[in-house]
């Protein structure tokens, strides 16, 4: 039991990281921001779901998907369709020529609800669809690709093309799914108004809790044997295959998990922001989601959340104040993160801040004695997660062993 908990929370260090993140989400943010800004933070945190999914797919699995917006969008649309149907009951749409169907259908001379909208009258079906539709879609894509050993750059390009196709399709089908405007004017969830301040608070906290849950699921995956296999596959796929593992199944699994996480983010986005449109699906938003993960650290689940928060804060700030500067900054970020900090913020933390912090702790523990030499291990290019670092990193830690017991693993 103890071992299982240790795995789930990533030892003492992981637990502290998670606690700090939880404190930031649940205490610091609500106290510092008013409800308008908090709602914005909630919106950023929905992108963090995508970023976490990408840590699993890209950081661990080595599968770069440039189409995570597809799943974000599908999840969001499934939620939006339910909310839209509830908002367009015959009573409130009686001025339309066909009451009881969503307004954009009426504008496009549709007289009956299309068949694929029918099941979205039910909340439980919609919630299931939020997970099942993107998962099924991801399953189809990944089976077709990975079973035929297509990967790497090809996979990235094809996911990007699919994101483009889906956008064009939605924009072209104005009458059926709302076109370029998306599905707007969402009001209530089972009679509960989602536009009030109180509802926004509730949704924000629900979103945060789901996010912590997603991180724990991610931890479970990467600390299990599956996670080890993913890493091995990323580095030497053929060796894993020759060892008798069915490589494609693992890839399909992790891609579907990533897709479902994105979909949860999309659904929470719809609930908090109150609409869903194709502008969250296409090529540009999809590749921006990759930069959240890259900035936070492609090997760190918690880092990905901070990455999503920081990049989005910067985006909002700069595009409000210096719109011309933002694209330069964004472009520079892509290049810098790839060329200078391949492991993002988490990498900077574990190679620069953590050793100093450990040395400081050791110094303080020694009771004002002579300062210990700071032995900072050289950062490895593709360093594993801090908690899984081999003994080389433990030099400063073992010096501090007098006061701090190593987490048993």
């Amino acid at each position: 039991m103890h071992v299982a908990m240790d795995k789930l929370f990533g030892g003492r260090e992981g637990l502290v990281g998670l606690a700090i993140l939880a404190a930031v989400i649940f205490i610091v943010m609500p106290l510092t921001f008013d409800i308008f800004r908090l709602n914005l933070v909630g919106k950023y945190l929905t992108y963090a779901f995508v970023a976490i999914g990408l840590v699993l797919c890209w950081g661990y699995g080595g599968i770069l998907s440039l189409g995570q917006g597809i799943f974000f969008g599908l999840g969001g649309y499934c939620m939006a369709m339910f909310l839209k149907l509830e908002a367009s009951d015959p009573e409130s749409t009686k001025i339309q020529s066909t009451p009881g169907i969503p307004d954009f259908m009426d504008w496009n001379q549709l007289t009956a609800l299309p068949w694929f909208w029918e099941p979205f009258h039910s909340l439980s079906f919609s919630l299931l669809a939020v997970l099942a539709v993107p998962c099924l879609f991801a399953f189809i894509i990944s089976v077709a690709m990975f079973k035929r050993r297509v990967g790497g750059v090809y996979f990235a390009i094809i996911t990007q093309a699919i994101a483009l196709i889906l956008t064009i399709l939605i924009v072209g089908q104005q009458g059926y799914i709302g076109g370029i405007n998306g599905i707007t004017d969402l009001r209530t969830l089972k009679g509960w108004d989602i536009r009030t301040d109180e509802a926004k608070y509730v949704l924000y906290f629900l979103n945060g809790a789901l996010l912590i849950g997603a991180i724990l699921v991610g931890r479970l995956i990467i600390t299990s044997k599956l996670g080890r296999l993913l890493l091995a596959m990323r580095d030497r796929e053929d060796r894993v295959r020759f060892s008798g593992y069915d490589v494609s199944s693992f890839k399909i699994f992790v891609f579907c998990v990533g897709a479902m996480m994105s979909a949860i983010g999309g659904a929470m986005f719809t609930l908090q922001v109150g609409f869903m449109s194709p502008s969250f699906i296409g090529i540009v938003p999809s590749i921006e989601m990759v930069i959240f993960t890259a900035v936070g650290g492609r090997m760190s689940l918690i880092g990905a959340v901070y990455g999503a928060l920081i990049v989005n804060f910067a985006k909002t700030y700069f595009s409000e104040s210096f719109p011309a500067l933002w694209l330069f900054l964004m472009g520079g970020l892509f290049i810098a993160v790839v060329m200078l900090f391949p492991n993002g913020l988490a990498g900077i933390y574990s190679s620069h801040i953590k050793p100093k912090f450990a040395a400081w702790r050791a110094r303080r523990g020694a009771g004002g004695g002579p300062p210990l030499p700071e032995v900072a291990p050289p950062p490895e290019p593709a360093a594993p997660k801090p908690a899984e670092r081999p003994a080389a990193a433990a030099v400063p830690r073992s010096l501090a062993a007098g006061i701090q017991s190593e987490p048993s693993r």
């Binding site: 770069l64 750059v153 990007q160 196709i165 892509f334 790839v338």
Partner: protein
């Protein structure tokens, strides 16, 4: 199809097919550079569309210069503009390879992200330098108008010009790759990088020149692009995904495959555009390409390459 006589329908079909040929030319011009780069180095250059834009903007600049200082030169400037577009794009490509791409050869996925960042920066530079509005070059008189081979069929001259340019450029690339000493080095590096290095070919230099050449071809594509459409900061990125699909569909490293796939994608798209909405035509075309790619991931024509 009511209201059209058989001959009118045939004429429309012919003109639609020619529209497809124009699209085919743009695809080929863009895909040629991309195919060379991707085929040789396995690098996907997301900023390729921006090199097209560079070529287009330098053509526009040339046209403005010609108009201002040498009005008598205006009918001929376009030929020079093509050369300038090539040189500018080649030079910038050379620099980009030197500063960025060569550090990332071992990480193709990261190259994709870094070049995407580059494309964002380049777009913003275009926007700051030339403004967000689209600009167009003053075309020489001989490029305007249309040619009527038979009654009821109008073939635009600029389309024919772009087609001719495409043919010329493809031939040049073909000769460069398969009949020149340098092309031999390029092909040797593609087939077996280690052995090529062992027999004394400087593979990093081959890479750099190939990358720059691909960018230069994109620059020429940009010059050709100004004859059919106006240029904005994001014109190049409009075609980038289609071009990737063209290259992947054709089979990496196969020039013949690139032509075949550019032709089939362009024709399918423009002929279908007549029967349904433009967006549905595009969706259907791209979807078909992706489904074929799922069945045959190596593309139409594949070259055996030792990795």
């Amino acid at each position: 199809m009511d209201g059209y006589s058989a001959s009118e329908l045939a004429n429309i079909f012919a003109m639609q097919a020619f529209a497809g040929v124009s699209l085919f030319s743009v695809f080929v011009l863009m895909a040629l550079g991309l195919a060379i780069i991707f085929g040789q180095m396995g690098v996907i250059n997301m900023a390729h569309g921006e090199f097209l834009t560079i070529g287009a903007y330098s053509t526009v600049m040339m046209s403005i210069l010609a108009e201002k200082y040498m009005p008598s030169f205006l009918p001929y400037y376009f030929i020079f503009a093509i050369v300038v577009a090539f040189i500018v794009a080649f030079g910038i490509g050379y620099l980009v390879e030197f500063l960025m791409i060569r550090h990332l050869y071992r990480r193709p996925l990261d190259t994709l992200l870094a070049t995407w960042g580059l494309s964002l920066i380049m777009q913003q530079i275009f926007r700051s330098a030339f403004g967000a509005r689209e600009v167009s070059a003053t075309l020489p008189e001989w490029l305007m108008g249309s040619w009527q081979p038979i009654e009821g069929v109008d073939i635009p001259i600029n389309g024919l010009f772009v087609l001719a340019l495409t043919a010329f450029l493809s031939l040049a690339v073909f000769i460069f790759l398969f009949r020149s000493r340098w092309g031999l080095k390029v092909r040797a590096t593609t087939q077996n990088r280690l052995m090529a290095g062992a027999v004394g070919i400087s593979t990093p230099m081959v890479d750099r020149i190939t990358f720059a050449l691909g960018c230069g071809i994109a620059g020429v594509a940009g010059a050709a692009f100004t004859t059919i459409a106006s240029t904005g900061p994001t014109s190049g990125s409009l075609y980038i995904v289609d071009t990737f699909l063209v290259v992947v569909f054709g089979g990496a490293g196969s020039l013949l495959g690139t032509f075949a796939s550019a032709f089939s994608i362009a024709q399918a798209q423009s002929v279908m555009e007549f029967f349904m909405s433009g967006s549905m035509a595009k969706v259907l075309t791209l979807l078909t390409v992706i489904i074929i790619l799922m069945i045959r991931p190596e593309g139409l024509f594949s070259v055996k390459v030792r990795k």
